[in-house]
C-alpha cells in the first residue's frame, strides 16, 4: 500500500497560492424559533502551494464541504464567515471572495479559480446542450472568435478522451463517467490557477475513478494548477495528493506530505483512518473507534476528539490543542503527540 503513495510532485519551496488563516464559518439558523449555531469550520489555517495537489480528508459532516464553500466564496445564508481570512494570490487584499467586490470575483472565477463539484449528475443544465456550458463558463474568459474557442474546446476534450460529439449532447444522454470527464474538461479549460475538487470521483466505479484521477493529475501537471482535493476516501488521497490535511469536527488535526502521513500518522484519528484502510493479506480484525462524530451544534469542550480518543487525558477535555509542527512540514494538533515531540 505504501508503495502507492506518490512522491511529492511540487517543489517544497514553492510560493503558496492560498492562505487560509483561522477561518471560522458557522451556520446560524433561526428557523421558526429554533436558534442554532453550527460551528462547521472552527479556526482552520493552512496554505496551498502553487502546483501542488492539496488533499483534505475527513468523515462526512466533518466540515470539509463547508470549508471549501467558504474558500470558494459560495456563501449563502445561513452559512456565515465569522472570522479569519481566505486569501488567494490572484485576488490579494480582501481576505476572502465573500469580501471582494463582485466584479473582481466574477473576473477571477473560472479564469483563476474553478471548481469540480460533487455529484456530476446534476451539475450541468439539463435542458441545454453540453456545449452551452462551455460557452457560458469559459468563453467570457477565453475570448477570441467563436470558432477558435470551439477548436480549443474540442482539443481540450481530447485530453479527457471525449469525442467532440458530446458537445451536442444533453447531459442526461452521457454516461456518468463521460459526464464527469466533461465537467473535468469544463473546470480545466481555462487553465485556472486553482481548482477545487469536491469528491469528484465518489460516484464512479473503480475503473472509471482511476481513469479520471489520472486525468486530473495529468492535466494538473500540464497546466501547473494547484488543486484542493476533497474526499473522504483515503485511498484516493494516497493516489493523487501531494500534501494532505485531516479534518475532524470542524478543525484540522494533522497536516503533512501525503507520503509522510501514510508513513507516520501522528494524530490518533489519522492513525485510525489509515489503519482502517484495507490491506492485502492482513486479516487482523480492525479495532473500531468507539462513539460517533460530535454534534457540531454542541461540540465537546477542549479537543473535539477526546471522547473517542484512546489517549485522552484531563487536559484534552479542557483545552484546545494547537496545530504545532511535530516534524518539518508535519503539523498536528494533539496534546499527547506534541508533548511527546517536545519531550
Amino acid at each position: 500500500m505504501r508503495a502507492n503513495v506518490q512522491q511529492p510532485h511540487a517543489p517544497q519551496d514553492a510560493q503558496p497560492i492560498l492562505w487560509v488563516r483561522d477561518l471560522q464559518a458557522h451556520y446560524r439558523t433561526s428557523h421558526f424559533g429554533v436558534r442554532r449555531g453550527v460551528k462547521a469550520v472552527d479556526g482552520v489555517s493552512f496554505a496551498v502551494r502553487r502546483g501542488e495537489i492539496y488533499g483534505l480528508a475527513g468523515e462526512s459532516s466533518s466540515g470539509k464541504t463547508t470549508l471549501i464553500k467558504s474558500i470558494a466564496g459560495a456563501i449563502r445564508p445561513p452559512l456565515e464567515i465569522v472570522g479569519g481570512s481566505v486569501e488567494f494570490a490572484f485576488l490579494p487584499g480582501y481576505g476572502g471572495l465573500h469580501r471582494a467586490p463582485p466584479v473582481d470575483v466574477a473576473r477571477i472565477r473560472w479564469r483563476h479559480l474553478s471548481y469540480i463539484m460533487q455529484g456530476s449528475m446534476n451539475v450541468l443544465n439539463p435542458v441545454r446542450r453540453v456545449e452551452s456550458a462551455f460557452v457560458d463558463f469559459a468563453y467570457p474568459h477565453i475570448g477570441g472568435s467563436r470558432k477558435q474557442f470551439e477548436q480549443q474546446v474540442v482539443a481540450h476534450l481530447a485530453r479527457v478522451r471525449l469525442d467532440p460529439s458530446v458537445l451536442a449532447a444533453f447531459p442526461h444522454e452521457l454516461s456518468g463517467g463521460m459526464r464527469q470527464r466533461a465537467t473535468l474538461a469544463l473546470a480545466t479549460i481555462c487553465r485556472p490557477d486553482f481548482i477545487i475538487a469536491d469528491e469528484p470521483t465518489t460516484a464512479l466505479d473503480v475503473v472509471v475513478q482511476k481513469e479520471v484521477l489520472g486525468m486530473i493529475r495529468s492535466i494538473q501537471r500540464e497546466t501547473g494548477s494547484s488543486v484542493l482535493f476533497v474526499t473522504h476516501d483515503m485511498g484516493v488521497h494516497a493516489h493523487i495528493t501531494d500534501r494532505l490535511a485531516i479534518m475532524y469536527a470542524g478543525r484540522l488535526v494533522e497536516e503533512a506530505a501525503t507520503a509522510e502521513i501514510f508513513r507516520n500518522p501522528l494524530h490518533p484519528y489519522t492513525r485510525h483512518l489509515i489503519s482502517s484502510l484495507p490491506r492485502i493479506g492482513d486479516d487482523t480484525p480492525r479495532e473500531g473507534l468507539g462513539g460517533s462524530p460530535p454534534n457540531l451544534a454542541d461540540p465537546p469542550p477542549g479537543c473535539r476528539f477526546h471522547p473517542r480518543c484512546p489517549l485522552a487525558t484531563e487536559i484534552c477535555k479542557r483545552e484546545v490543542p494547537a496545530m504545532l509542527e511535530a516534524d518539518t512540514g508535519h503539523r498536528v494538533a494533539c496534546f499527547a503527540v506534541n508533548q511527546g515531540a517536545r519531550a
Binding site: 446560524r28 439558523t29 433561526s30 428557523h31 421558526f32 424559533g33 449563502r76 445564508p77 445561513p78 442526461h172
Partner: protein, 287 residues
C-alpha cells in the same frame, strides 16, 4: 401540532398575517350560524344604509344587512371552493401520478380521457345543466360538476412533472432498490409534486369561485343561497356600482381577497416549514 402552530405564529410573519386574515374570514363565516335574519329574507332592515355603527357593512338595496349576508355568502363560497378543490385535486393527483409514471398505453388511455375533459367547453355545459336542473341545482351539485371539469388541466401538469422526475437518477435508484410503484410515487415523487398541488389548489379555488361569479353575473346562479356570486348578482340587479351602494360590492370583494391572501400566506409558510430547502431562504430573508 400545538407547538408547530406556536412556532409558526411566533416566527413567521407570513403565517401571522395569513392566520389573522383567515381567522377574520372564518370568524365571519362561522357567525353565519348566529345571524338574526334568515339568509334569503329581504326588507328586514332599511335599504341602502351606508356602513355605520348599527350596520357595520351597510345594508343592501334589498333591505338586507351586508354583514350577515356576507357571512352566509363567504361560508358558502369557501365551502364551495374547497369542495371543488379537494375533489378535483384528488383526481388530478392520482391520474397525473399514474399517467406520468406508468407511461405507455395507460398514459395514453388516461390522457385521452383527460384531454376530453380539457377540450369540452365548460360554460355552455354549465348553462345547459342549469337549464335542465332548474331550481334543484345547489352549490354542492355545482361544486361536483365543476370538480369533474377542474382536475384535467392540473393532472396534465402533474403528469409532466412526474415524467421529468422519472428520468432522474433517484427514481432509478429507488426502482433498483426494490420499491413498489406505489412507494416510489408516494414516497419519492409526491414530495416534489406537493408544492404544485398546493399552488394549483389556490388556482383551482380562484378558478371555481371566479366561475361561480361569472355564472352569477350571467344570471345562472341559485339566487336563493347567498354566495359571493349571488351577492354580486343581486348588487348588479340593483346597479349598485353606479347607484353608489359601493359597500354591497366592496365588502364581498375585500373578503374574498382577504381569504385568498390568507390562504396563500399560510400555504407559503407551511411550505417553508415543510420543505427543508426553503428553510435556508427563510433565514436569508430574516437576516
Amino acid at each position: 401540532m400545538a407547538i408547530l402552530l406556536r412556532d409558526l405564529l411566533r416566527h413567521s410573519p407570513e403565517f401571522r398575517i395569513g392566520a389573522v386574515l383567515l381567522a377574520f374570514v372564518l370568524l365571519l363565516s362561522v357567525l353565519a350560524s348566529f345571524s338574526p335574519y334568515p339568509p334569503e329574507s329581504v326588507y328586514v332592515v332599511p335599504p341602502d344604509v351606508p356602513p355605520s355603527l348599527t350596520y357595520w357593512f351597510g345594508t343592501t338595496s334589498r333591505g338586507q344587512d351586508v354583514f350577515w349576508q356576507l357571512s352566509f355568502a363567504i361560508r358558502n363560497t369557501l365551502l364551495f371552493g374547497c369542495t371543488v378543490a379537494l375533489i378535483s385535486r384528488l383526481f388530478a393527483l392520482v391520474i397525473g401520478l399514474i399517467s406520468g409514471y406508468k407511461g405507455g398505453w395507460i398514459d395514453r388511455a388516461l390522457m385521452s380521457v383527460n384531454d376530453t375533459f380539457i377540450v369540452i367547453p365548460l360554460l355552455p355545459i354549465l348553462v345547459l345543466f342549469y337549464f335542465v336542473m332548474r331550481d334543484r341545482i345547489s352549490w354542492l351539485m355545482l361544486a361536483l360538476i365543476m370538480a369533474c371539469f377542474g382536475w384535467a388541466y392540473d393532472a396534465r401538469l402533474i403528469r409532466s412533472v412526474v415524467m421529468s422526475l422519472k428520468a432522474r437518477e433517484f427514481t432509478q435508484t429507488s426502482l433498483f432498490s426494490g420499491m413498489s410503484t406505489r412507494q416510489i410515487l408516494t414516497e419519492e415523487h409526491l414530495p416534489y409534486v406537493m408544492p404544485i398541488v398546493f399552488s394549483t389548489t389556490m388556482n383551482n379555488m380562484v378558478w371555481s369561485i371566479g366561475l361561480e361569479v361569472t355564472l352569477a353575473v350571467l344570471g345562472f346562479t341559485d339566487i336563493n343561497t347567498p354566495t359571493i356570486g349571488g351577492m354580486i348578482y343581486w348588487a348588479n340587479q340593483h346597479t349598485a356600482m353606479v347607484a353608489g351602494i359601493w359597500w354591497w360590492i366592496a365588502f364581498p370583494t375585500i373578503t374574498v381577497v382577504m381569504a385568498f391572501i390568507g390562504l396563500f400566506l399560510l400555504a407559503l409558510s407551511a411550505n417553508a416549514y415543510i420543505d427543508p430547502r426553503s428553510r435556508l431562504w427563510s433565514v436569508g430573508e430574516a437576516s
